[in-house]
Symmetry: D2
Subunit: 338 residues, 4 copies
Amino acid sequence: MQWFECDYAEGAHPRVLKALIDSNALSTPGYGEDAFCARAKALLRSQMQCEHCEIFFTMGGTQTNLLAIAQLLRPHQSVICAQEGHIHTHETGAIEATGHQLLIAKDVDGKLTPDSIRAVLAAQMPIHATQPKLVYLSQPTEWGTVYTRSELSALHALCREAGLLLYLDGARLGCALAAQPDVSLPFLARVCDAFYIGGTKNGALFGEALVFTDPALCRGFDYLRKQRGGLLAKGRLLGAQFEALFTDGLYTQLGAHANAMARRLQDGILAAGYPLLAPSATNQVFPVLPKALVEFLETRYVFRRWGVPEDPEQVPIRLVTAFTTTPEAVDALIADLA
Amino acid sequence: MQWFECDYAEGAHPRVLKALIDSNALSTPGYGEDAFCARAKALLRSQMQCEHCEIFFTMGGTQTNLLAIAQLLRPHQSVICAQEGHIHTHETGAIEATGHQLLIAKDVDGKLTPDSIRAVLAAQMPIHATQPKLVYLSQPTEWGTVYTRSELSALHALCREAGLLLYLDGARLGCALAAQPDVSLPFLARVCDAFYIGGTKNGALFGEALVFTDPALCRGFDYLRKQRGGLLAKGRLLGAQFEALFTDGLYTQLGAHANAMARRLQDGILAAGYPLLAPSATNQVFPVLPKALVEFLETRYVFRRWGVPEDPEQVPIRLVTAFTTTPEAVDALIADLA
Amino acid sequence: MQWFECDYAEGAHPRVLKALIDSNALSTPGYGEDAFCARAKALLRSQMQCEHCEIFFTMGGTQTNLLAIAQLLRPHQSVICAQEGHIHTHETGAIEATGHQLLIAKDVDGKLTPDSIRAVLAAQMPIHATQPKLVYLSQPTEWGTVYTRSELSALHALCREAGLLLYLDGARLGCALAAQPDVSLPFLARVCDAFYIGGTKNGALFGEALVFTDPALCRGFDYLRKQRGGLLAKGRLLGAQFEALFTDGLYTQLGAHANAMARRLQDGILAAGYPLLAPSATNQVFPVLPKALVEFLETRYVFRRWGVPEDPEQVPIRLVTAFTTTPEAVDALIADLA
Amino acid sequence: MQWFECDYAEGAHPRVLKALIDSNALSTPGYGEDAFCARAKALLRSQMQCEHCEIFFTMGGTQTNLLAIAQLLRPHQSVICAQEGHIHTHETGAIEATGHQLLIAKDVDGKLTPDSIRAVLAAQMPIHATQPKLVYLSQPTEWGTVYTRSELSALHALCREAGLLLYLDGARLGCALAAQPDVSLPFLARVCDAFYIGGTKNGALFGEALVFTDPALCRGFDYLRKQRGGLLAKGRLLGAQFEALFTDGLYTQLGAHANAMARRLQDGILAAGYPLLAPSATNQVFPVLPKALVEFLETRYVFRRWGVPEDPEQVPIRLVTAFTTTPEAVDALIADLA
């Protein structure tokens, strides 16, 4: 079976794995107080051109989102996000479990706009509704689309004006950086109050790097991460992996490869005459295929049906590429569409 | 200024107040372990024709909803409700603050349908989405509409089939009982797993009666109520008020009066040629009036603008009647519409 | 049966009740946005000599404690309190239910000392233990003792030095003010970051007044109170009661009466040769009596056994007086000790 | 510097690392739905002689404890544990952050007794105190001591009788199994309602195996683990590690090695004439040494001072051995004591 189900079906990129193997026998302090984490943070700060940024390594995306949002909000404050925002639909109510409400703003192909956020703000009755305080974006979005530099600048400006914090979920940030190079790490460090650089879905065994661009926002975060079970005893595992990922451009290279495989796939699907739920710029592709074809593909490939189809004969699916995806696998699937 | 802002602008009905005055000097055990509460519960059980129902008095609507839902759900379970459900828009994220997600189902004039609930169930991805477990209804709804007997039966049947609990917010239940007599207390005790009989908005100083129709569902609730600050030290205040409200049919009479005043108001508004946001059967009326007229009325009456108008010249407002509303006040407002 | 079980066995003082009756028919805005609350707050600010204090009315003691502490702490911060602190033993884990740990400091007759607090601070391992941030005191304490002015000054100084907040639970503050007049409201407003003035146990039907002496500490508290079910719809009920209690010194007079009755009781017990668990200056008395005598008294008086006796033949009990306790009732009990 | 600070200073045992390397390139389903996890669970079930046990892999000890306890308790229920219980002193209030109170029972060298638990039960006032529902033990305890078979049987019997759940924290279970072989996995599966088998501190890179011995107790746990950020995307990493640890007895061998090194150390310390805080049977040793000696050792070894010394000249320290500790390192330290 060829794998298009997700971007976490294999282990680590060989260079990441090597970093773990090479460090295995060393003795270091626990809980991330080690030289690997220190070096990885220095590398990230340098590549973000943000020396005052504070970085915390965490173990997975849901954990990172819930920790960041629990850190950034007071109990009565809420999050503005898209209907398909990962925190809304795919994290088992993790944000609500920390006590915070999500307010859904309209999106265009997964992207929020200043107007959609303003509409949410206008609808909340003070005291009796929660106080919107944080805007949650994903880059790329859940539809594979990416925010442009001007779109993010406009959202940043609105947030400053309205007293909102801007938080960006970078689970697949490697793909976004490759697809939209001018939305770079230094740019993100300027427009976001916090964001995370995802390792799990881009070449690491596991691990994310959560960045607070204003140190005042992360006071006590080291306690919170421990309290919620997010502090890894052998914390250097995260440092070693991120050091490898951010050495010699590996992180963006892996994203670029996954994007290239997805584009090849998307082009083949369109050439075969099938529509897409949304046009993706990154490593997730959402074709809508005849039911019989989907059933046939399910005998040869691993992937997911996506959402509840309106027409049961036309089934949306999600195909995901990764740093491990080969052109041969993509071409085989395209051939099978014919 | 005449008051159409809400149904909690005055104190208690004289018979409720008298019950408090008459009991004032008596010594009784605290925390609701008194004879007043015992008699009030017996009265309610009898009028619900439900001897096994468990009843807990609480102090207000938000408190009751959050306690009931925290009691009925496990941490990973969520609530299905309407977009305008009180818990979604007017309780400051109280349910999320107990850790539970709300899932929004489509409504028709504020009412959920089996199909809208089924659509929510179908959209949740197991493990990665919360597990829907409870349907939240209001009777009357936030639009003043009421569920019929057959509508509630259909929702009850779906809940049984799908393993969902049915919970009904009766903040204004007196008005609903008066408007739709066959959706009676005994009927509610049969179709709901839990519901509350609202006192605050129907003649009490404060207080609600939360009913669990299956005793197995309320194990430990006495602890939870105390833990969340909902156990009144002088608990007999609640018992005395509910005893007065449910003696000689006072509760439904007060609802009927408020409804009659609202109907008089609604008829006058329609006769004056103004539309309604929704046709109300109970004590809330939602006309859409020209902006200038709204501004004029604001000089003579207390009421709320409702929602964000799409057309800034046409402003939706909410007018609420209560057990204290007089026909003269209603007629004066109608006259002012001309 | 004569009642010595608690100080919430009867309704309100007649002047408090009259305030409720007199205001009953008036229409006012809901949620405490009314003139009664405004006047009561002005009265309290004046008597506290603290014009910048922010005051919020709440419905009961547990609710007040949990709201205040949830407001004042970040998720990783904890509370230092005495073993017998009300929040530790009698509020069903309300503080933990808001996510905060309690750290127990040694007490002397219910009172914390700077040294006992310093010992707690020294024992916490950063990151891996919670961060102590708030000291919880009761005045009077759970043993009926009261902090002196110099004791509170010393605790205040330690808190300032160690970056801790000082919060005082005044459930029975009327008795403390009467017993220790130099620990006055203006003094408390200077040494505490927040405290509450209890109504429920001193003449009100229900209600407490929570005071934040630094406005920066209560940002968003109006949302939090609503979210946790602590915002009374007919909020003026609280304003009207506190206005009555703080007019013409009623509040302290009621405390003084309860104290006088308790002293009479305590003197009688000591004269009869029975020991006390702790010497009380306020309205709770804790004698240790022979089991047979306790069983006899239980046939004539309502009171509670207190704690688990070490010697089953010597049973500690708690006797509580209130604004309603009569000298005759006290003398009858003393006579029955013989 | 020689390392005696903790048992998580190095990476994985070579056989565990090899399992990760060998599986790195394979494609598998995410979230633990893979063959590695399935095989590891089968292996554990077989070695526990408990086919109906349910096993969930998690990422670290604090995470496991908070997830297990959040799963097993209703909101009003509390945990009985020792003063030095890891959840009380070293997990940043993780249990309170899930809303649950800890009740401290007296211990003997870190071990709870039926009498100490009964005393806690007797002291709780129903409704006004939390309901004790779960006993938390560590095996080995935080003092390195181990429960015997008869001690655990007695605790199990008390729990059954009192309606309590028995939960055992096995962060260092490998050492306990080696030190007290008759407290075996099958025995633990019979006496505990849930327990975890720690990987992090015994040869894994990270990871714990949480066991529910009654499937009814883990309903919905798969949702809860995801919601709190404890579901690893590449879940097979945990399966592969536990498969390696439980093949050919590696897990207990690693514990036995660490114990042997600790015994060698403890014998050397006693022979040198220094006392211990507590006699340890496992891999943590707690000598009390003269301050000057501690300062000297700190120039050559990494270890922690332990607690606040009563006498500043006599400093308790903690020395921890691990599967990586060599006899030479131990002998060097002993030599330096002289």
